[in-house]
C-alpha cells in the first residue's frame, strides 16, 4: 500500500479526498436520496421488502428521537451512506479484514472501493463495518419486466453471494475525469463530480466535494463547531460529516453509552 504514496508518472499524489457533509437540521427524512441512489447504482430490490434486515440500500435514512414524550419530542433523520473511512493511512475496518482484496482504499480519491467480481461473500467486511454500510446479496437480482433495460451501464450489476455498498457514485468521477482529460485538464471541478443523493436532496442537506480543497463547500462546513462524525471514538476516521445545532443529535451520532465520557 506504500506505493500509492510515491509520485506517479505525472508527479501527482493523494489528489483528492472526497467526502460529504450532511446537515441534519435540514434533512426532512423524505428518502429522495435513497431512491436516487437505488436507481443510479442499479441496486436490487425484491417484491417484498418488508424484512429490512436483508434488504439492500446503499444510502439508508435512520430515524432517531430524543426519547422524550410530547411536547418535548424531537426527531432527527440520519442519511447514512458508506462513510469511506480513512482510518489511519487508509486502514478502513473493512479493507483490513477482506481476505480477497475485494475492497481497497484509493489514495487518489479517498474512496473505499468494492469489486464485486473479486468478492466471494465471506462477509467479514460486514462484521467489521461499525456503520452497517455494507449489504449482502442473498439472491440474484431480478428486475421487473423491461426495467433491466433502464439499468445504468456505468455501474456493474451484482450477483448473488457478494457484498455491495455505496461508492460515492464513483462512476460519475470516472466520467468527470474523462471529460476533464478530453479538455486537457487534470483537475476536476466541484460541480463536475457530485453524487446522485446530493443532487436529489430537495433540502440541499447533502453537500459533497473534496475535503482537502479550500474552495469546495465541504472544506468550510466540516470545520463548523456543529460538525461531527458517527462513532468517531473508534478511530475509523470517516469522511462523512454531520451538522446539527441540537446537542442531543450530536450525542446520539457519536453514540456514547450512558456512563461514558463524551469527548
Amino acid at each position: 500500500m506504500k506505493e500509492e504514496h510515491k509520485e506517479g508518472a505525472h508527479g501527482h499524489k493523494e489528489k483528492y479526498k472526497y467526502g460529504m457533509v450532511i446537515d441534519l437540521d435540514k434533512c426532512t427524512g423524505c428518502g429522495a436520496c435513497m431512491v436516487a441512489c437505488m436507481t443510479e447504482n442499479n441496486v436490487p430490490f425484491r417484491k417484498d421488502e418488508s424484512n429490512k434486515l436483508v434488504s439492500t440500500a446503499w444510502m439508508r435514512v435512520f430515524k432517531a428521537t430524543n426519547g422524550k414524550s410530547y411536547p418535548d419530542i424531537d426527531v432527527c433523520y440520519f442519511p447514512r451512506p458508506c462513510m469511506h473511512c480513512e482510518g489511519e493511512h487508509g486502514h478502513a475496518p473493512c479493507v483490513s479484514v477482506c481476505p480477497a482484496t475485494a475492497t481497497d482504499y484509493n489514495y487518489e480519491t479517498g474512496i473505499v472501493s468494492q469489486i464485486y467480481t473479486r468478492c466471494f461473500g465471506c462477509r467479514y467486511c460486514m462484521a467489521a463495518c461499525p456503520y452497517h454500510a455494507r449489504y449482502f446479496n442473498w439472491w440474484d437480482p431480478v428486475w421487473p419486466d423491461k426495467m433491466e433495460k433502464a439499468l445504468s451501464p456505468d455501474v456493474s450489476p451484482r450477483m448473488r453471494g457478494v457484498v455491495e455498498k455505496c461508492s460515492f457514485c464513483f462512476h460519475r468521477f470516472q466520467r468527470a475525469r474523462d471529460h476533464a482529460y478530453a479538455e486537457g485538464r487534470r483537475e476536476i471541478r466541484e460541480d463536475e463530480y457530485q453524487t446522485a443523493c446530493t443532487q436529489a436532496c430537495p433540502a440541499d442537506a447533502i453537500i459533497f466535494g473534496d475535503l482537502n480543497n479550500p474552495e469546495h463547500k465541504v472544506y468550510k462546513l466540516k470545520k463548523s463547531p456543529y460538525a461531527f462524525r458517527l462513532l468517531e471514538r473508534l478511530g475509523t476516521n470517516p469522511k462523512v460529516y454531520y451538522l446539527s445545532t441540537r446537542s442531543w443529535v450530536r450525542r446520539a451520532g457519536d453514540n456514547y453509552l450512558a456512563g461514558e465520557r463524551s469527548k
Binding site: 506505493e3 500509492e4 510515491k6 509520485e7 506517479g8 508518472a9 505525472h10 482484496t101 475492497t103 481497497d104 482504499y105 484509493n106 489514495y107 487518489e108 480519491t109 474512496i111 472501493s113 469489486i115 464485486y116 467480481t117 473479486r118 456505468d154 455501474v155 456493474s156 450489476p157 461508492s167 464513483f170 462512476h171 470516472q174 466520467r175 475525469r177 474523462d178 471529460h179 476533464a180 482529460y181 478530453a182 479538455e183 486537457g184 487534470r186
Partner: protein
C-alpha cells in the same frame, strides 16, 4: 529378498509404462491444445468483411471514425451514420459494399458488429486517459488492425461469452506483443511500469 524382487519387476515393466505415459501425454496435449480450444470457442463472421487498410488510406487517421465525443467518452465502433457519409450510394462494385447498402443503409439498420475488445461489465476503461493524457498509440492495445484487409473471424468463448481477443490467441498464455491480450494482468503490467495508480477503482466500476 522381497525388495530385490520388487526392483526387478518395476524395471521389467518400465518400458511399457513409459510408452503408455508418452501416449497419454501426447493425447492430453493434443486434446488440450487442438480440440479443447475448438470446442471452447465458437467462430462467428462479422456482418461485413470490412477493410481497415482501404479506409485508412481514404480518411487518413483512426479518429475520423473512432472519435471522442465532446463529453470525453469514446465512440468506439462507428454508427451507421458514419458509413452513410461516404456510402450513401455505391462507390464501386465490391460485393461487401453492396451488402452494406442493401442490408443496412437502405433499411437504415445499425450494423451488428461483433466487438473484439468488449470487456466484462465490471471493467471501466477510459480512452481519454490513455489516448489523450497517456498519449498511447491505438496499436499498443489494438494491434495492427488498421493495416488489415479483412476482418478476422470473431471467436466467442462459449462459457463466458467474451471474445477470444481478451484471453489471447495463445492457449499457453504466452504473449509477444503488447496487443496480444487484454486481460487485467496486461493492464496492471503497464500501470506498474509507468507508476500509475493501482487502486481497484481505477479500472473497475
Amino acid at each position: 529378498m522381497s525388495a530385490q524382487h520388487e526392483k526387478k519387476e518395476s524395471a521389467a515393466s518400465s518400458p511399457i509404462v513409459i510408452v503408455f505415459f508418452i501416449i497419454g501425454l501426447a493425447v492430453s496435449l493434443f486434446v488440450g491444445w487442438s480440440i479443447f480450444p475448438k470446442l471452447l470457442y465458437s467462430q462467428k463472421k462479422q456482418p461485413i468483411d470490412f477493410s481497415h487498410s482501404i479506409h485508412l488510406d481514404a480518411v487518413g487517421d483512426c479518429e475520423s471514425c473512432h472519435f471522442f465525443r465532446e463529453d470525453g467518452s469514446f465512440s468506439g465502433i462507428p454508427e451507421l451514420s458514419n458509413c452513410v457519409e461516404c456510402h450513401e450510394e455505391a462507390q464501386g462494385e465490391d460485393p461487401e459494399e453492396i451488402k452494406l447498402i442493401e442490408n443496412y443503409i437502405e433499411p437504415n439498420k445499425e450494423i451488428p458488429w461483433l466487438v473484439y475488445s468488449r470487456q466484462p461489465d465490471c471493467v471501466f476503461f477510459s480512452h481519454a486517459a490513455h489516448v489523450k493524457m497517456g498519449e498511447l498509440e491505438c496499436k499498443t492495445c489494438h494491434g495492427m488492425i488498421g493495416e488489415s484487409d479483412h476482418v478476422e473471424i470473431y471467436e466467442e468463448n462459449r462459457i463466458t461469452g467474451y471474445s477470444r481477443n481478451i484471453w489471447g490467441k495463445s492457449i499457453g498464455g504466452f504473449k509477444s506483443n503488447t496487443w496480444d491480450r487484454m486481460k487485467m494482468d496486461d493492464c496492471a503490467e503497464c500501470h506498474e511500469e509507468h507508476g500509475t495508480n493501482q487502486a481497484c477503482f481505477v479500472c473497475h466500476k
